[in-house]
Structure formats: structure tokens, C-alpha cells
Amino acid sequence: MLSYYLKLALINFKRAPSLYALVLLTLSVGVGLVCANYALISVMSGDPIPEKSNQLFHVSMNTWPNENNTHGEPLYILRYRDAMMIEESSIPKHSFVMFETSAYVRDSASASLSRRSGKVRATTHGFFALTNAPFAYGEGFSENTGQVVVIGHNMNQEVFGGGNNVGKTLEIAGELFTVIGILAQWDLRPKYYHATENRAFDQTDDLYIPLETVIDQNWRAQARTSAADSWQHMPQTRERNVYYLQAWVELPTNADKAQFQQYLDNYSQTLKDSGEHPLAIRNELNDVNQWLAKQEVVDDKILAFAIATALFLIVCVFNASSLLLSRFHAGKFEVGLRRAIGASKQQVLMQGMIESTVLGAVISLTAIGLSGLFLALSIEMLPNLRNLAVLNANTLLAGVLLSIVTANLSSFYAIYRANRYTISAELK
């Protein structure tokens, strides 16, 4: 019977190709818009490291040295001595503290003097194990010092044209660094380890360099910095109240987490006892998803737009519905005839639904094509969506389902009507 219904569906499409094309277009535009929007939301609200997102914690502390803290409590950035206290602890399985900066880069062996700008992650060595950074070649560093660098996939392409370049030398901000590791393509959405300052959808970094080396080179943090003391050179920040480092720890069990929380609180209490902690003790551990929620990486504007696109889709469904109703009027006689020769209402309903489902399947193709186009256009207009506007498997599946559901919804009224009137009315 299914093959018969499919055959009837094709015959029906051939009878009114332009009408069905119109329905297809109408619903494709509506579904395509919703899908494009859903793609953004699904990437925005995705879990970037599902295998252990509930074991990785961002550390916020309340160690601001003056009573009048206007920077928000607790601070998500830490000063060097607090950060080192975290690094010294053996409770976390892995940990790292880091800040973001940038530098100009060239292949030191190249004849060309042209340099390109690269985003630098100045970090302690725990970064690679904690984030499961994917290595294509080589490995990460195991000290927080040294003239070594791990480079990202894109930087490897741009500077070396790809391939294994471990052991080669890069000139970074005028200094020579040995490449010890090269990452594979790494699409981290959201980039949870630096989700503040609206950077959750930046691309992953170009250069990963030991923290102490970067501080010694005096490359300044290019992210939020708050200072209670004055300073001029980065090395001074090791001793002074300059807040610019973000810390992440990996705590596999609840016991580990409780123990580490206690460790932080004990540290703060020691500071308080010596009169160095004027504010209330408030040390917060947020796991990846809590942290992303706190940073509101899912933009309110996108959510508002989602409602608008959903309403638009409803309008499309109504339009398609009235188009299909005219098909029903043209096909009334045939429905009556089929009923007369023995088709049950159920079978007529089934035939209608299979036709709609076939239509929906075709719509899903054009709709997904259109949503790809919409995303490409939105990148054109808003380049900072580049790392966000991708159609993942979730979105594709949602697109197919939504197409089939909307096609069925659109034809629902026509099918309902076809099943309502007495059969004899159409047959003479």
C-alpha cells in the first residue's frame, strides 16, 4: 500500500507542479530561517567538552585588596600570587592559569620578512591535558618557561603551508621560539576556557606559549585587567595587585571539588587573618556549563529572533495550508470516488499524510540549502558569527523533522475537510 500511496503522491505533484513548487518554496523559506536560527542557538548552547564538562571548573575569587571593589564580586580574573596558589595545589587532576595576548609571527627560515598577527594563549602547561587539545604533531610543553611554542592548525597552514613542522623555529615578536607541537583543526564552540568579554565564539588560539616566558617578554594581557596597584612592566605583576589571569581546574569527583573548595577557602582565611582580605570570603567553582550560562553566551537577541522566525514559520504554514486547500477542492471528486469504491477514511488520511511526508522530505532539502545560504549571508553581515554559523548534525536532523511536520500541518486542514463531507455529495 505504501508504494501505491507514494505513486499517488507523485501523480498529484505532477498534476499541479507550480502549486506544489509554491508550497515548497513557502515552507522552505520558513523552515530554512528557523533552521538557520536554530543552528546558531544549538552551537551557542552546545557542550564544548561533553566528556568532562562537569569536571572542569573555572575559579573565581574575592581577593581584591581594598574595601571599595567596583569590579564585581567575586572576580573572574586572579592576580599572579592567587593563581600560583592554585597551580601549587595537588588536588586537581590538571589545572592551568592563562591570559590572552597577541604577537606578530614569521617563519624564521623564510626569505620573506612579512609577518602575520597571531592570537597568543600565555598559559601554564596543564592547559593541554585539561582541555584535551588535539595534537596533530608533537606535544605540549611541560614547564611554564622556555622559548617553545605550540601552534594551532591555521597558523601552521599560514606560516608553513601545513605538515609536520615540529623542530622549526618561529620568530614571535622578535624572539625565536622552537615549535614543539602542532594542533589539529580545533573547533571549540563555545570556547569555554575564555568565554568572558564576549569571546566565547572566537576561534581557538594560534600560539600557545609558556606563561612565565610571556610575562618575562612583557607581552601585555589583551583581555580584562584590573589593578589596585600601579605597574609598568608585566614582570612586576607577579608581585603586585594586578588581576588578569583566569584559572581552570579539573576535579573528577565531588570529593575532589569539596576538598579544593576548602583549600581555596583556607587560603583566603589565611589572607584574612593577616589583614589582606577585606572582603567576604567568596571563592566560586563553576563547571563548564554553569560558567557558560553565567556568561550568557546564548545571546538574548538570538532568542528574540528565534521567536520572530517561529512566528514567520507559522505564517508560512497558513499560506501553504490555503494553497493546499485549493488542491483539495480540485481533488474532492477523486477522494469521493476512492471512498465509494472502498477506501476508508483512515486510508484516505494515510494517503494524504504520505503525500505530505514526501513533500516534507523534498522541502527539507531546499530548506537546509536555504538555511546554509542564510547563515552564509549572516556571516557576510556579521563576521563575528563566523565560528558560530555552522549546520551541525542536530540542526540537519531538526530541519528534516521540522519540514515533515510543517508539511503535514499545512495539509492537515485539507485532509480533514476531505474526510468530513458525505461521499455521495461529489458523485453523480
Partner: protein, 235 residues
């Protein structure tokens, strides 16, 4: 074959009630060929629609081939319609863009027959109406009489117990009407029960039983005397 007992069918609109059938009783035996006559608007089509399970009724009982249809749900009624009844309409009601074979095949699709059986039945039915050679034609490529014979093949294909025909020759000229009538007689001789609504007194006369409906009820008043009665009167 068909037993109707005090059937009434009332059409209700906001302002008026029309009796399509009132206290209507009729028994038709297996193998009969019944001509139903009566003035326009008297309820002939209503009777056929109720008999064919295309329309429901308000009161009374109806047994089709020994089965009481009262209280049956749509699926049961539909499969009963599919198995036991063949319809022939005044307007043929063929689907214009289906081939002759596909038109005849339609009721078989809802019966769950295998492909081979459907093919066999389609060919057999078309052979019976003399159109076996036109399997792949479209309805528009046939004459009106031929189209009606295709419609009869469609009604026959599922080997129904009873054929219901509402003015089957109403759209045909006399020659083509003649062919259709001869075909119906042949089918009746093969054992198919036929109930036919007609306005043509000559057609009514040539079948073995006449039923006259006036105002939703069967009446005895003979407006078209059967052939034997006429001959008896002449003698």
C-alpha cells in the same frame, strides 16, 4: 441479498427537514435485476446511496448479504463496500489522467490483492466489457459508451455481490445505451445482482423486477407496466 426494513433518511438543514426516504422497506434476492423508477426528487439516488453504504440512515434496519450494517464504523463499512458492492455512475467517474487499467485497478488496491492477482482481475474485467485491447488508453481516448464500460469493469473487478447503477445510460445515445444494457443483462445472467435507477421506461420494462419510488416510499401504482403485463393487455 439486500433487506431494508422501515429505513428513513432525513436531510436536515437549519430551516427545513427533507425526507429522502421514509419508512422504506425493500427486499432484493440474489440474482435479481431491479429497475428503480420514480419522479425526479423522489429519493431514488438516496436509496442507492444508502444501499451502497455511501450515506447513512436515521431509522430502520439494513442487512446487506446477511450482515446488519447498523452501528458499523467507517473502516468496516468501507471494506464491506469494497468487497460486496460495485458502483456505476451516470458520469462514469473515471480519473482522467489514469490509464484504463489503473482506473479499473483502483478498488483492488484497497483489497490487499497481490500484484499478479490485480493484473489478472483487471484484464478479466476489461475482457468482460470488451475493452481488453485498450488497457493503456486514457479515458478521453474512448467514447462515452466505452468509458461507461470501463466504469462497469471497475465495478466488476472485485467480484462484488451486487452492482448499483444510478442512471448508467443517462449520458449515452441510444446505440451506446443499448450496448451497456446488454452488458448488464449478461452480467446478471452470470449471477450478479443489479439494482439500476433509470428514467427510461423501455429499460425498466426489460428487467425482471420494477420498483417505483414516490416521495421516499415504494408505491404499487405502475407507471411503467412490465413487458408481460403490457403484452397481456394487448392480447
Amino acid at each position: 441479498m439486500l433487506v431494508m426494513n422501515s429505513i428513513s433518511r432525513i436531510y436536515r438543514s437549519e430551516t427545513i427537514q427533507t425526507h429522502g426516504l421514509r419508512d422504506f422497506s425493500l427486499t432484493v434476492e440474489q440474482g435479481e435485476f431491479v429497475a428503480v423508477t420514480g419522479p425526479s426528487g423522489s429519493g431514488k439516488s438516496t436509496f442507492l446511496n444508502v444501499a451502497g453504504l455511501l450515506d447513512n440512515f436515521d431509522q430502520g434496519d439494513y442487512l446487506l448479504d446477511g450482515i446488519s450494517v447498523k452501528g458499523m464504523n467507517d473502516t468496516q463499512l468501507s471494506s464491506l463496500r469494497n468487497e460486496k458492492i460495485g458502483f456505476i455512475f451516470q458520469n462514469y467517474n473515471l480519473i482522467p489522467d489514469y490509464s484504463i487499467a489503473d482506473n479499473v485497478d483502483m478498488p483492488l488496491r484497497y483489497r490487499g490483492f497481490s500484484k499478479a492477482e490485480r493484473k489478472e482481475r483487471v484484464e478479466y474485467a476489461l475482457e468482460k466489457v470488451g475493452l481488453a485491447a485498450r488497457l493503456d488508453y486514457l479515458p478521453s481516448q474512448l467514447s462515452g459508451g466505452q468509458q461507461q464500460r470501463v466504469a462497469i469493469a471497475r465495478a466488476l473487478a472485485g467480484s462484488p455481490k451486487i452492482l448499483l447503477a444510478d442512471e448508467p445510460t443517462g449520458n449515452l445515445d441510444s446505440l451506446m445505451a443499448r450496448q451497456v444494457m446488454e452488458l448488464l443483462h449478461r452480467l446478471n445472467q452470470d449471477g450478479t445482482t443489479i439494482i439500476m435507477v433509470t428514467h427510461d421506461p423501455d429499460q425498466a420494462r426489460e428487467v425482471n423486477r420494477n420498483v417505483q419510488i414516490v416521495d421516499g416510499q415504494i408505491t404499487d401504482a405502475k407507471i411503467y407496466a412490465p413487458v408481460e403485463a403490457k403484452e397481456a393487455a394487448n392480447a
